[in-house]
Amino acid sequence: MTKVIKKISKSEKIRPAAFKLFLTAVFSLSVLYIYFVAAIITKTIDSEKKLKTISNKEEQNTELERKYIGFVGKLDADYARANNLVDYGEKIVYVARYNSITRR
């Protein structure tokens, strides 16, 4: 490495170009480092927000399922009668024509 630097430092043509290249590389790496770190932080914040939204939605879903199950459990004949739904079973007559059965 030292020999390369010495060789470059001795060459009048290569020396300025090498130095500029070196400074450009340092500058570019610094910019890239700042960009990637900023991108990671932004993505992490965004990801945290989304996870929180998902968690809230899951909680809402659990609550809705609990209410749905509670409601489903109520649906029975007693509930129907309490809501004045009348059993029409006695009034239904089944009529068979040929091979099919239809309901009158």
Binding site: I5, S9, E12, R15, F19, F22, S55, E59, N61, T62, E65, R66, Y68, I69, V72, G73, L75, D76, A77, Y94, I101
Partner: protein, 568 residues
Amino acid sequence: MKNEFKFRIRLVYFFVSLLGIVLITRLFFIQVVRGDYYAKEANRQHFSLSAAGFDRGSIYFSEKSGRVISAATVKDGFQVVINPMDIKDSEAVYHEISTIINIDKNYFMERAGRKNDPYEVLAHRVDEDAAKKIKQLNIKGLSVFKEYWRYYPADNLASHVLGFVGYRGDELIGRYGLEAQYERVLERNSQKSSVNSFAEIFSDIKKIISGDPQEGDIVLTIEPTVQFMLEKEVNKIMEKYKGSLAGGIIINPKSGEILAMSTMPNFNPNFYSKVDDISVFVNPVVENVFEMGSIIKPLTLAAALNEGSIRPDTVYDDKGYMMFDSARVSNYDNKARGIVNMQEVLNQSLNTGAVFAMQKLGKEKFSEYMINYGFNEKTGIELPNEVNSKISNIIKNKRELEYATASFGQGIAITPIAMIKSLIGLANGGVIMQPYIVKEINIKGLKNKKTEPKIIRQVLKKETSEEISRMLANTVDKALLDGKYKMNNYTIAAKTGTAQIAKKEGGYYDNEYLHSFFGYAPAFDARFLTFLFIEKPQGVQYASHSLTIPFMNITKFLLNYYEVPPDR
């Protein structure tokens, strides 16, 4: 020029060295000064989390439409924690917190008084709003942390099937039911499961290579509306007749899919720790055996019909009793009916008729059929702690009395799940199907494992199944409570059983019975088979009086709910 370049190079060396010193200093602080902190953070990415980071796979019911509903899931909230060493004015802190959450003052003061303890939990499962308000108080020593727990949205529904998650020592694992049976599928935090994505990749590859069960969620065959309805009816039976326990199973006889399974008394798995008598966690459908009584008679008659030993119009002379050496086997009322046919054996539930059919079939053949019905093996249902039925007294036994009593369901003890497995052979063309309760396991990232209906064996001919169904439908139309519950547009095949309960020391109790009832509809194209039982019912003698109405309610509901067209 050369000197200028050398100066620039030295300047660059200086800045690089400065940067190196900064980095080394930073490394020193990270590795030496805060090394422990970062080691713990790294461990958290690779090792199991505490209960505060609890996670578990879900269990779902499946509706008839195919939609899934959560039966067991993970809920999140917050726990309120104090550091008693930092609490200066306990009264003031209590006053502030008590306006937000409900805490007993003595409890709080006792916890806050533990000055040598840096960590005391005041409340669990606090909601987000309350947690935010507590955080906003900004009191030193008072914190809130996220916590997760197992939650059963449907409370008591199918509690024996689901089981619950509880502590065994320091470990939160599935206890009872499917939570225990599928612990390795449902667990998420055991054995150093990682949250770091790179570590997770290697961990998953290792699992695949070693063949470990994959993590997943479980979808059940249980239909929640049907389950609700069955639980209500079983509960009504318990309330009315105050038995020691009661239960029911509804199954699709063509596939073996269990649509509902219920036992009372049951429990709420969200509050399992509040249960006084832990025997309630036992699932008698798989863990208890019962002498089933007369519901065995259709199996006996079907076996004899299948071998051609009898026909439905075969007659015998019923004297009301039969003698086997000094032992007397009699009808339930000790009465003789004279010349009766096999239909009357079912209609009037004649013990002597069942013995006659067994004798015509022969002891060895009878024993063979009982084994083929599945009574000598576990069903293999996906629930833990299944026990074997007890029929050893009719296997290679020389005493004919044992076979005689077994023919009408006494002297042999069967689990309810084994009973229903044998009965579906009557309803579906003579095939014993594997009963199952897990429809599907949804594996993360891989193909789902679906349960397919499985034929165990063909035990009866199709014609025999039709014949016995015809006889059982006749029983419902003409004999069950004098045909009062006949349905004009649907054929229903059914049979009741009233069995004496055996004493441990031998013999039977005089006034203690097991009532059982099974039936299926439509009789010749069965969509559902329902089995109900109640142990030691009070104030009622026969199963026809205790279980007919609940069975009919369940059957009518099922026929309507699944829109089954009439078959007559």
